[in-house]
Symmetry: C2
Subunit: 426 residues, 2 copies
């Protein structure tokens, strides 16, 4: 089929009428599907059931350093848990702090403490005269933007390219001392699936921010979440150390999408100075995190190889879902010039970019047809997509047949809304 | 033996020399004992080993409302976990939020959010002109005081009586709008073992603080931690509701000293207004806490009766330790008028009050003899015990024979330091 823009009014009207009928047939089915959030499917969760057996009433619950994992203490985590997550995050165990079940919570707390108490002796952000500013590569992760918005931090959009954020823009903006941080998902970014290039990472490591308390929030949420072969990127912390800026970055990771999203373990890795600063503040907040769950993870996986083998099983389950969506979009939308989409090599999302001014309408029509999508605009700070064109597709949660159906509906709705839009302009 | 103060200089000198020799004999044994922290002994932790079996690879991990406990979501906790902890805390499940493994962390976060975002629409504390003030019944819990000190909150000592805090003082101080809260451990208080009387609780419920965002931080850490028969106190939240002040209190509780201090679950119970306010802020911080651990607790205990039966086993293990300390103090110090101590009916501590100006010296000499105690002053804000007389004894962690020995040494050191002090005044 030829591009919609090249169709005559009559051709496009005929197409539009056919799409309306097709759409109505979906609405009439009263479906209830969900492609909104990056949640693992229950088959993926089943992969980690065995983790619930490795710690039981007969287990020795003593950690490698003699700590009774059942009792109080051990603020930065068990040595073996620091090793496992350190290996996963390309970090020395000594640079790691293992927390509870949520890396989002670590990031929130990190900003909360910077706001109230300051970073390594710098002025607490709540005592600054002007607003704190933050760089937000877009499209990006709504919960990241939610934290900075909640703290009243002024968010600045940074364009994302195929190799990472626009580093010219980043380098220009960090000259402003009010700019205190940037959100990064360096591998299989949410939602674009972008893998930062070596050059981008090198430029991050050599950033010269005006603010001494500027930090890169490096949320490597999908570090081992490959759909195909393993893709490695340079370690930002090592690169920062080599560039003479060891304190420039906080790295975050978790097992939320490896074991259980509700019951994984999360970690931060950073320089010794940053780690000391964090622990000095954190010691007032808690005596320590759940060490039995740390032990459970360590004994289930053994080591990094165990983690990687496990991730291959995840990939086998979700790869077909990604491919089903991509196939449908190719078949249904290919050549129509009504949108583009990513074909990620890992992570949890496909990013769809439609015609300007169509995203909200597409998501609304999907809802009417019983398919919940991530809200349009969610991938931008303040939920303001300047082009109203980006939609995040999360294909992991529903079973394969439901995903295939949802993708069919999505393609139909994209065509319907695009045709309507273009007709109005004719 | 007669009181030291009534002894002649010669009598006391002889006693002092004998004590010095006795003390030296302990020092020569190069012991390593610990009565510093309120940690359960490993025999107590063994009581909960069975909890590690109730959730395993074969378990149905669906909660009563259909939630897959393994996946994301459920911000305020699983319904059955809210019920279990609600019952434990005398609260309606609907008033409960179940968190992660630490009630201290809940309290910290509560103060952090009040500081940054404010309580129910009131001015954030960081934006107030003068310092925030806080009431601290003394002696009290060092980690409570640590949080408020960390936030730069001005702490005001409130005397503790046998039936709770001095309510005349509390009622007077809350007339100051800068006073935003009070730390309370209403049952078996840390360290005094005080149980608040019905009258004290009633006066709390009828408080008329000038600050609309004043909250009672009601840390009912030992609500079912009886050493003897069950002691009940009126529910403060119900009392506040009846007094027309439903939003006056946050109640805190946890299973840290019921199951595992590192891997328990913690909860907050409060009014619907407060709960809504908290969740509206908390939703930016986390997607939800560890629901598998919530399920583990629910399935292990079943209901409140299960919890209570379990606590009887704890009591059977630690009651002899408390009684060993009390017996030694009675036998060794009775009639000497060198100190008083509590005989708690529950909780985790015995509070010892020696002669003025002796606590630091006693703790230092204990350390020399190989027995680590809670630091002198720790039971007061800023670590400043105005009389340098209070020492917290934590008898639960060491085995019974070690506790008995540590108590012997403690009694000897108390006598030694007291005799030295009194001799210097003769």
């Amino acid at each position: 089929m030829k591009p919609y823009v090249e169709m005559s009014k009559e051709e496009l009207t005929a197409e539009y009428e056919a799409l309306k009928a097709s759409y109505q047939s979906y609405v009439d089915r009263h479906l209830s599907l969900n492609m909104a959030r990056g949640k693992p499917g229950s088959d993926q969760l089943d992969l980690s059931r065995g983790m619930l057996d490795v710690i039981n009433s007969a287990s020795d619950l003593t950690a490698s350093d003699g700590t009774d994992a059942r009792n109080y203490g051990c603020l930065d985590g068990l040595p073996e848990a620091k090793k496992l997550l350190g290996d996963m995050m390309d970090s020395d165990p000594e640079d790691v702090i293992v927390y509870g079940n949520s890396s989002l919570n670590i990031m929130y707390d990190q900003i909360a403490r910077s706001y109230t108490f300051g970073v390594m002796g710098n002025t607490p952000w709540c005592q600054l005269d002007g607003p704190v500013k933050w760089l937000c590569p877009v499209p990006g992760y709504d919960r990241h933007f939610g934290i900075t918005e909640f703290f009243g931090i002024e968010m600045i959009n940074i364009p994302m390219h195929e190799d990472g954020p626009d580093m010219d823009a980043v380098e220009a903006f960090v000259k402003d001392p009010a700019v205190k941080g940037i959100w990064c998902v360096p591998k299989y970014s949410n939602p674009g699936g972008v893998v930062y290039s070596d050059e981008v990472i090198d430029r991050f490591a050599h950033l010269q921010p005006a603010a001494k308390d500027f930090r890169i929030y490096w949320d490597n949420a999908y570090c081992i979440h490959h759909l195909y072969e393993e893709i490695d990127i340079p370690d930002i912390l090592k690169a920062c150390k080599e560039a003479g800026h060891p304190d420039l970055v906080y790295k975050f990771g978790s097992t939320s999408k490896i074991t259980f999203p509700g019951a994984g373990i999360a970690a931060l890795a950073t320089s010794p100075n940053n780690k000391k600063d964090i622990l000095n503040q954190m010691k007032h907040q808690t005596i320590g995190h759940d060490k039995l769950n740390q032990l459970r993870h360590v004994r289930f996986f053994g080591d990094l190889n165990g983690l990687k083998e496990h991730m291959k099983k995840h990939a086998d389950l979700i790869r077909p879902k990604f491919e089903a969506v991509e196939k449908t979009l190719n078949e249904q939308l290919g050549g129509l010039e009504v949108g583009t989409w990513t074909n990620p090599k890992g992570g949890y999302f496909i990013s769809f970019t439609g015609l300007d001014g169509t995203a909200q309408e597409i998501v609304a029509k999907m809802k009417e047809a019983g398919v919940v999508m991530t809200g349009a605009g969610a991938t931008y700070p303040y939920h303001k997509d300047p082009h109203d064109s980006n939609i995040r597709i999360a294909p992991t949660l529903p079973p394969l047949d439901e995903i295939a159906l949802a993708a069919e509906i999505f393609a139909t709705v994209v065509k319907l809304v695009s045709a309507e839009k273009l007709l109005a302009q004719k």
